[in-house]
Amino acid sequence: MSSRKREEAEEATAALPLLVKTLQEVADEALEIGSKRQPFSAESRQKRPRIRDAHVVHSVCPYCAVGCGLNVYVKDGQVLDIEGNPDSPINHGTLCPKGAATFQYTVNPSRLTRVLYRAPYSDHWEEKSLDWAMEQIALRVKQTRDATFVERLPDGREVNHTLAIASLGGATLDVEENYLMKKLFTGALGIVSIENQARI
């Protein structure tokens, strides 16, 4: 359903609560047997879908390249559920098993949340701060680049590159992220082996 159609449908049902209430009362009376109301307890009747007050964030499936639209339901800063977006002309609300598992991909106790560091020849991980890791990585990049940078080939041609640093990955990332990677690594640092999954 398009958002416009949905608005129309919502307008059309705006008058419903009154009617529903009346119907509910009729049903309650009809179902009253002795002193018990059947078949729904008061608790059941008050139940609502847990996504009822959640706010919907539009997203796209992170798996294959079909690009199915996702609705991410968020309440109190937590993702409650992820479903196919019925508005999307690509998937019309449907998802494959992987797409339908996106919730578990993102909300998962096995996810890494801290920086882990393994020193040379060490047999264990150490937890480190993000700031420390960023500084160390910047230093490694500078040290390796400075030690291996080639300005000219023996034949005199200018190349301004380093072949001693490489990067792999990008097809699971955003366009904007790929752009900054190529700009920084190639454009500033002269790293040429910037590659991603398109190559496999």
């Binding site: 958002s3 539009h58 992170p62 798996y63 294959c64 390249a65 690009g67 639209g69 937590q78 999307s88 002309p89 690509i90 494959c96 992987k98 598992a101 996106t102 991909y105 996810r111 890494l112 801290r114 920086v115 393994r118 020849y121 047999d123 993000l130 960023m134 990585i137 910047a138 990049v141 080939l153 023996p154 041609r157 301004n160 590159h161 072949l163 001693a164 640093i165 490489a166 792999l168 990955g169 097809a171 990332l173 955003d174 366009v175 992220e177 790929n178 752009y179 900054l180 990677m181 190529k182 700009k183 190639t186 500033a188 040429v192 590659e195 991603n196 999954q197 398109a198 190559r199 496999i200």
Partner: protein
Amino acid sequence: MPGLGTTFGRGGATTFPQDLVNSDCILIMGSNMAEAHPVAFANVVKAKERGAKVIHIDPHFSRTSALANLYVPIRAGSDIVFLGAIIRYLLEQKAFFQEYVLHYTNIATLIREDFRDAEDLDGVFSGYDPETGTYDPTSWDYERDADGRPLSDPTLEHPRCVYQIMRRHYARYTPELVEQVCGVPRALWQQVVDTLIANSGRERTSAICYAVGWTQQSKGVQIIRTAAMLQLLLGNIGRPGGGVMALRGHASIQGSTDVPTLYDLLSGYMPQPAALLAPGPGTRRPRSEEVQAPVAGEEMRPVGPSQQTLAEYIAAVGQKTGWWANLPAYIRSLLKAWYGSYADEEEGERSYRFLPKIIGDHSHLATSYEMLDGKVRGYFLFGQNPAAGSTNARMQRKALAQLDWLVVRDLYEVESAAFWYRGPEGEVVEPRQIKTEVFLLPAAASTEKEGSFTNTQRLLQWRDKAVDPPGDARSDLWFVYHLGKRLKALYADSPHERDLPIKALTWDYERETPEPGSRILDEPDALLVLKEINGYYARTPDGKEHSLREAPHVPDFTVLKADGSTACGSWIYSGVYPEPGRNRAASRDPSGYTFPNWGFAWPANRRILYNRASADPQGRPWSERKKYIWWDEERRQWTGYDVPDFPLRKPPDYTPPPGATGIDAHSGSDPFIMKPDGKGWLFAPTGLKDGPLPTHYEAAEAPITNPLYHRQSNPAARYYRDRPDNRLAAVGDERYPIVATTYRLTEHHLSGPMTRWLPWLNALQPALFVEISPELAAERQIRHGDQVIISTPRGEIQARALVTRRLRPLRLNGRIVHQIGLPFHWGFQGKATGSITNDLTHMVLEPNVSIEEAKAFLCDVRPARGRS
């Protein structure tokens, strides 16, 4: 993707999956679409319900085959024979769409007199250098007049016109050869031919869908080329229900090629500047040791035209005619976006020198051997897992152990982060002997950052951010941006010229105000990055510099200039963010057949590419039924259901004046605007490294000798034969008689980093299996459910046997050839573990794109008796 790019002009799917409902026939080959791209496959099912014929050609019977009208089992690696035989049939029977082909392709163009076909030279084309295993394509060029214009013969009788060359080239691709090489009975093949012909032409259209079943072969680009040529001959390009639908594997694999994290490309398919090296004359250097760095004492020579200056680069890679004549505007705008005021100096020449030059093949797989040899010291992995996901994965793990430092960014502790203390069962890993320093940084999930993915139909779709990433997890945008800031600070006082690009780089993507509700205060502004990609006016009319933040957006790429006044990060994406407040990647109105206001499709929001070809040369729809874009004589412009992929006001009868350049050099009936001659290329005079016409070679490992040539396999591929960890099985090697192919399952993704930590998915597909025919199982005494060992010269793995008729023995030349099939999603990390299928595969690289051959290789299978 050179297969599509060389034939049509752009390296992307020519159509969109939702248009498949308009197809009258859909040929799926090199893809298990129902299981690997299930939601896109829904369109195929809809088309079938509307009467379309669905054909599936694949070694492995799958749910795609089950839903097809016609399933054709084929030997893995024989695709070009099957398709080439269709081409022969079309040419010999004149069953091609003659008016379309004559006007819209180069079928009438003459080729140089010194061109020699692979049929004349026993499997190589003219220009082949056996010492280096490379081609000089000079002789493949068009025959030209004194002004450089190609000559042609519209009667198609000249012996050197493309039609006659193709007739000779494909003469031996007979139905008999199909039987012999593909193992497909000729009647079944003929049924495919008849179905395609009956469903192509003025009134009807057929589409072809493919995936990595084609790309992962040592001649993958040429297979895709064959399909593209077939679609040109049938007149199915640029029309509704037609096209070549490339089904890509990752959420933004198209995006990471368009805005590339690839070594040989700059944004928008401009080549990375090169200063190529080759071994000197008389230096015998095996092709497997493609030059990566000059070797001390070895004589090297420069190859290719000089690209030392911007002017030389433009002369070397640009075109005088066709849309690419605009290259100077696009490269200057990119330099301006990257280097700001430095890009104005010396008309861009100074900042051009900042760009590093490539000297050889620096692709992922080629680089992994450099890494194994200790030449690569530092490595970044962004959501990619070579320790399990790349070919010859055992070698990949050894290569990681040779690094000084490794940065892994992922959501989970993937194999590539854990390789220093763990490996597959039976592999001894000794941490005390591995020097690699590893930084494992938690990454944000797609729901925890905003940004765009470009999907398989070239469609940019923006994702809004739902929640903050947990703990110290950050977006990759955050990581790259802050790494850049730290490096700029470290180099701020450098006096060295070589560090100037770091200082010159424009690098300010700070948010004006922190994101409301987020605890991450220093997340960069992804929308500002998108603005740079879209492009902006870098100067006010009176010459004052604009910063990215305050600059007016450019509306699209047609306003980009070669004078430094515009900046643009990727010209093909220009138009995605044409004005403040209007991010078209985030537009979400699904109405209309081509839903033009849902996302933004590059280029210029076109949904079907080359759509000028949906009208006849006079600009009228080929038929009412297949109406799409046409010439409106009253308004004197092109109109229809999509954005015309043609100059809007160029009439169908336009004839270029002598000496015309750029797009004006094309006539009003030349639909392929990116090509210098405006034609679809049946014959590729340039752009490919392994020949102007697809021809059959066997896979690097094959059970039979090539019946066409003494050349067994692609002469331009790279084999790494001298590498002890990359041994190949020879034809007839009795130790490895079985053909293996690999594929993915619906429930897992690639090597599993995004699925093997998910109990929901692990419950559905818990373990690795191998599909084996009942005949082979009987021969090897394997029962359904047994553990078996699969072996290749690279290694052995264990899997559970799934004995099934989904794989069947093929009869080739009176001989039975068995095939097995394996998924490849497991590894030693995560919640569901298993052998790594990529430990079996070899490293033989396709010459154009350096992709491995995982879809056809040789192996053996035996019961794992005595093992659990």
